[in-house]
């Protein structure tokens, strides 16, 4: 990967990497550091990143850095979920639909926050990043069969949360 390819990779995925870290860590400050570190490691390890594998490499690195951070996190208070609710408004929806979507997003965010890191990671990778089972298995260092079970159970847990919130049938 040359300099131009690296710049393109960063521009294309920086926000996704950052968003992923924010959701996993629920701390914007830590997420900024993690995202920066992941993007810089991509340059240092550019020889190991094959064409088309940049996104998976970045998310894998981000996930591992987030896990490390979660392990050594101190008693520092985390950012409240209220901070995560301040997201850009959807320009496509009208005010009424926008308000409904905001409520749903809030419920989803709270439900996601209650999942463990691995469950959160598979849900975000699948539903937010559209990654394949094989890519997710690579990121999480899991056999494909195990990954399917993990994803299935994570969806079940999230679904139970949303049923309890009256969102899902």
């Amino acid at each position: 990967m040359d300099g131009e390819q690296y710049r393109k990779l960063v521009i294309e995925h920086k926000d996704r990497v950052h968003t992923y870290a924010v959701w996993l860590l629920q701390d914007r400050e830590d997420a900024r550091d993690i995202a920066q570190e992941a993007l810089m490691r991509a340059w240092r390890h550019r020889a190991a990143i094959h064409n088309g594998a940049g996104k998976a490499w970045l998310l894998k690195t981000t996930y591992r850095l987030c896990l490390d951070q979660l392990r050594k996190r101190s008693n520092r208070p985390q950012v409240s979920l209220a901070d995560l609710s301040v997201l850009p408004a959807d320009p496509v929806l009208g005010p009424e639909q926008g308000a409904m979507m905001t409520d749903l997003r809030g419920i989803i965010r709270r439900a996601l926050a209650r999942l463990g890191p691995r469950d959160k990671a598979v849900i975000l990778m699948r539903e937010l990043s559209g990654m394949s089972y094989e890519e997710m298995a690579d990121v999480l260092d899991l056999p494909l069969g195990t990954l399917k079970v993990v994803l299935h159970r994570a969806r079940e847990r999230l679904r139970r949360e949303l049923i309890a919130a009256g969102v899902c049938p």
């Binding site: 926000d15 914007r28 550091d33 997201l87 989803i108 539903e127 679904r159 949303l162």
Partner: protein
């Protein structure tokens, strides 16, 4: 035993797995037709599929949180330089630098001869001994964005320095 949906218990477990596979584009045409056939009469599985679609739609609609520009600037700077600047100085760098300085000072003072050297000469000797340590400190601080001399001499490291005994060995007190 038949459940309210008309399925034998446990059967919907298999279908739910199939519904997930179809949602993730892992099913072939024959499997998709089979699933449609089951959904036509199983309301529980229809509810299940709908709930997965609600989850997918809500999460997919979450917008990206923009990566801040200052941090992006650091990424580009790191690419140009080929190194990484830490956003915040690790706590141990200031303490490590202070420990090196304190040990060097202690070694210098304890090793000072019992000769009758004048205070001025003794101070000159100590300054010469301290120079290599100060160069190490300077290099460490070059890499640290926020650490300052005050962090080392006045911050938490200073408490440790205070407890290191310093004994004047000159002929007269300084």
């Amino acid at each position: 035993m038949i459940t309210a949906s008309g399925n034998p218990p446990g059967d919907c477990g298999r279908w739910r797995n199939a519904i997930q596979q179809r949602l993730d584009n892992r099913s072939d045409q024959a499997e998709r037709i089979e699933i449609d056939g089951h959904l036509a009469w199983c309301s529980e599985c229809r509810d299940y599929e709908e709930s997965l679609l609600v989850i997918r739609g809500a999460i997919a609609a979450i917008p990206n949180i923009p990566f801040p520009e200052p941090e992006l600037g650091s990424v580009w700077a790191g690419q140009r330089r080929g190194t990484t600047l830490p956003r915040r100085a690790p706590a141990w760098t200031g303490l490590a630098a202070a420990a090196v300085l304190a040990l060097a000072m202690l070694a210098s003072w304890n090793a000072s001869s019992s000769s009758q050297a004048s205070p001025e000469r003794e101070l000159a000797r100590l300054a010469a001994d301290a120079r290599p340590v100060l160069r190490i400190l300077a290099r460490a601080f070059e890499r640290v964005e926020e650490a300052t001399v005050n962090e080392v001499l006045i911050g938490p490291a200073s408490r440790a320095v205070r407890y290191i005994p310093i004994k004047w060995t000159g002929s007269s007190p300084p």
